[in-house]
Amino acid sequence: MLGNINSVLKIRIDELFYLSQNRTYNDTDRLIGFELELPLFIHYLIEVKKMGFGSKYFGWLASFGIVLALSWFLLPEGWNTVVQVFAPHFGNYIRPTVALLNILIVNPLSNLLAVGIWAAAGFVGGVIAGTKKGAFVVALVTWISSQMLLMFYVYMLFTSGVNLGTIPTMPPGASIIDILSIPLVKDLIGVVLNTVGAAGSGGPDIVAIILPVVVYVFVPVIIAVIAGIIGATIRPKE
């Protein structure tokens, strides 16, 4: 069915169609298409992918890896300022902490980057898991893993780094304004101000403060699950 793969993988586009439909190519079928030449390593990538395809374990590995890597390397400028200011005093756990915090408490309207990260992680996890149930499990376990890791980071931050007597020093080029521009910080300020404003008839409404935060906490797993199910639907287990 496939041509010579010693040096170059040749495959006709109509054959790909048959393959994707899990059907056997029949010589009597009319062939319409063109021939693609793919480098050999693509072929091997396909083979490796197929090996792991259908595995929740590898789905979780890939999904969790995506979450950790993208949250680290795509840390928004405002959070980066937080790290720049606080890390000299609080230690090296501040960056991984804020990196995970940024994508684990998500207002989907203002933090599109986090939405994208969870969508990507969920989708890849779903594709690899191959079933809707598997995609759900992968997304859930990835989210729980991230939560557990964040808890560990926070624990380490407070036990090894934080000195409450230290006033962080703003390095040249940085400003607290950058921190105020962080979507999560803006959201929380808005929540607090609106809640205080709405609390004219009594004390502050704690529920009104906590509720949005609780919603923000569950947004990532919802996004990941939806993206995962989409991924599993697009590329079902063969």
């Binding site: 069915m1 197929k50 680290w72 790290v83 000299p88 005093h89 090296n92 940085a174 105020l180 808005g190």
Partner: protein, 547 residues
């Protein structure tokens, strides 16, 4: 600097000097009573005015401020309905040590809020009773930021929000400044529980805070680009301001001064250090008020042997300096024991200078276009040019790395200076986790002409982050006088190391929670093995196409 000096500077720059010069020269404005200040400001607002103010400190370092009063009103369209209810609008963009420099100058006004003599006492809150330095607040604010702040008084929330949007669009179209909202706050009675019995002096106050999206250089250029450039502004090189060691620029607009006056309607008249009382409610001008200004502080520009100061060079101008047709004023002050011998131009009708106080005033509009404004003084009025620089062996490092810091003091003069003291001890107290090794102080009894000395120390960083190296301080003596100068504050970045953090996480986890960590790793490993075996058996994998 004490409170009186602070008032003197502010009043001198903005209110007293220009009309004084005008009064002594043209007779069109008379300043005989404080009650006339409102009239004078109203005239400036209506006609427009520009001021170039220069201060040279005893070490020859300049502070330069250029501002326009009244002129930005047209660009901002301050009479438009979108400003109805707007108390004030401020745009400020700053970089480097300028704000700190200015705040140090006016430190008596805002210095320590617990100071019993402080002018802020009447609005100090309980939080400040234990003593609070405004430096701490500015330290947190940082040195580099761009902000727009605005307040609407007694306007319903939707209307004020809509008007704020229109104002932003106007500023964007006139100045090409872009903004992103940081926060907005509405203060009214509903903010407070009824039993708190809070009586606000207004029905509502909407506060808006936006971050400027443009770069600092662009912000300065754009702010100035929207102003009247037919006067001195046309000759000013904005880059001279933007590239200084500290600089800032901004706009302040008060669409209706009577709104401010109304808020102070029943207040006790403020007593100014100059004689007499000044009631804001009575003397505040009415109508729109707008001020736009840029400023910078720089390195030493005059030194031993120099006999004149060119104001043109301070603003980076290359051509002639053409004033507005009216109300352009140039003010210079040479601090310390400077003996001004002459100034140019020196038309007795339009120039005032006081050798005793080192002050010079020019009514530039009446003097017309000039090639330059020069102040001449004795050749030994300023200290020898001694330069101090700080260099880092590398721009940035990763966690655990070290950087070598070298302080170089160079005597660029033809004379020797004595008792040279170098101190760069600011880092260690700020960052206990940074390990400083080597000498951070040094003294040299005599530094010969054109000689230099260096001091080197090493800093090792255990944590990532942005580190502030406070300015290294140099003091030296010449001619029985002691002079002090410093390097700018420097920032140094220690980059993260993802691999090192991963290793640290695993190591700390094993140390803190060995059983749990081993269990998790075992679970991951066993699950992995199980999955791989499943794939090999064909449970989880797909058909592999046979070639």
């Amino acid at each position: 600097m004490n409170r009186k000096a602070t008032y003197a500077i502010l009043l001198t720059i903005f209110f007293i000097v220009p009309p004084l010069v005008a009064a002594t020269s043209s007779g069109s404005v008379i300043v005989s009573k404080q009650e006339d200040i409102g009239t004078i400001i109203n005239q400036f607002i209506a006609e427009g005015a520009e001021v170039l103010a220069v201060n040279i400190d005893p070490t020859g370092e300049p502070l330069v401020i250029y501002g326009q009063l009244g002129l930005p009103s047209d660009a901002l369209d301050l009479t438009n309905d979108m400003y109805d209810g707007c108390l004030a609008l401020a745009v400020v963009s700053t970089r480097g040590e300028f704000m700190e420099y200015v705040m140090n100058m006016v430190g008596g006004l805002f210095g320590n809020l617990s100071n019993p003599n402080n002018v802020m006492d009447s609005i100090s809150s309980k939080q400040f009773e234990s003593g609070m330095n405004m430096d701490d607040i500015f330290q947190m604010l940082g040195t580099d930021f761009g902000l727009l702040l605005s307040a609407y008084l007694n306007v319903d929330a939707a209307t004020s929000s809509a008007r704020m949007g229109q104002v932003l669009a106007k500023i964007n179209s006139e100045f090409q400044l872009s903004f992103s909202e940081l926060t907005s706050i509405r203060i009214d009675d509903t903010m407070f529980p009824p039993d708190a019995d809070v009586q606000l002096p207004f029905d509502s106050l909407d506060l808006y805070v936006y971050q400027i999206g443009n770069t600092f250089e662009d912000s300065l250029n754009l702010i100035m680009s929207g102003l009247d450039s037919s006067g001195l502004l046309g000759a000013i090189d904005i880059d001279t301001f933007a590239n200084a060691r500290g600089s800032a620029g901004g706009l302040l607009a008060i669409p209706d001064m009577s709104l401010i006056a109304g808020m102070f309607g029943n207040s006790t008249p403020l007593t100014f250090p100059i004689s007499g009382d000044f009631s804001i409610a009575q003397d505040m001008p009415t109508g729109p008020l707008s001020i736009a200004a840029i400023g910078y502080n720089g390195d030493q520009v005059v030194s031993l042997g120099d006999t004149s100061l060119s104001l043109k060079s301070l603003i980076g101008a290359t051509g002639s300096l053409t004033p507005l047709s009216q109300n352009t004023f140039i003010i210079a002050h040479l601090a310390g024991d400077v003996n001004i011998t002459s100034v140019s131009p020196n038309d007795p009708q339009y120039t005032m200078f006081d050798p005793n106080y080192g002050s010079v005033f020019w009514n530039a509009s009446n003097l017309g276009s000039q090639n330059d404004y020069l102040i001449n003084f004795e050749s030994d009025d300023y200290p020898p040019e001694i330069a101090i620089t700080r260099a880092f062996s590398i721009d940035s490092i990763t966690v655990g790395g070290s950087v070598e810091v070298t302080i170089t003091v160079t005597n660029n003069a033809d004379v020797a200076v004595s008792n040279v003291l170098i101190s760069d001890t600011g880092l260690a107290p700020l960052y206990p986790t940074a390990d400083v090794s080597g000498d951070t102080t040094m003294s040299v009894s005599t530094l010969a002409p054109h000689e230099n000395v260096t001091m080197t120390y090493t800093v090792t960083f255990a944590n990532e982050g942005g580190y502030l190296f406070p300015g290294a301080i140099l003091s030296y003596e010449y001619n029985s006088r002691t002079f002090t100068k410093s390097t700018p504050d420097d920032g140094f970045t220690v980059n993260p190391d993802a691999g090192a953090v991963a290793g640290q996480v695993i190591g700390d986890a094993m140390e803190q929670f060995p059983e749990i960590t081993l269990g998790i790793f075992a679970l991951i490993a066993l699950t992995g093995i199980y999955s791989v075996l499943g794939i090999i058996k064909g449970r989880g994998g797909s058909d592999i196409v046979t070639v």
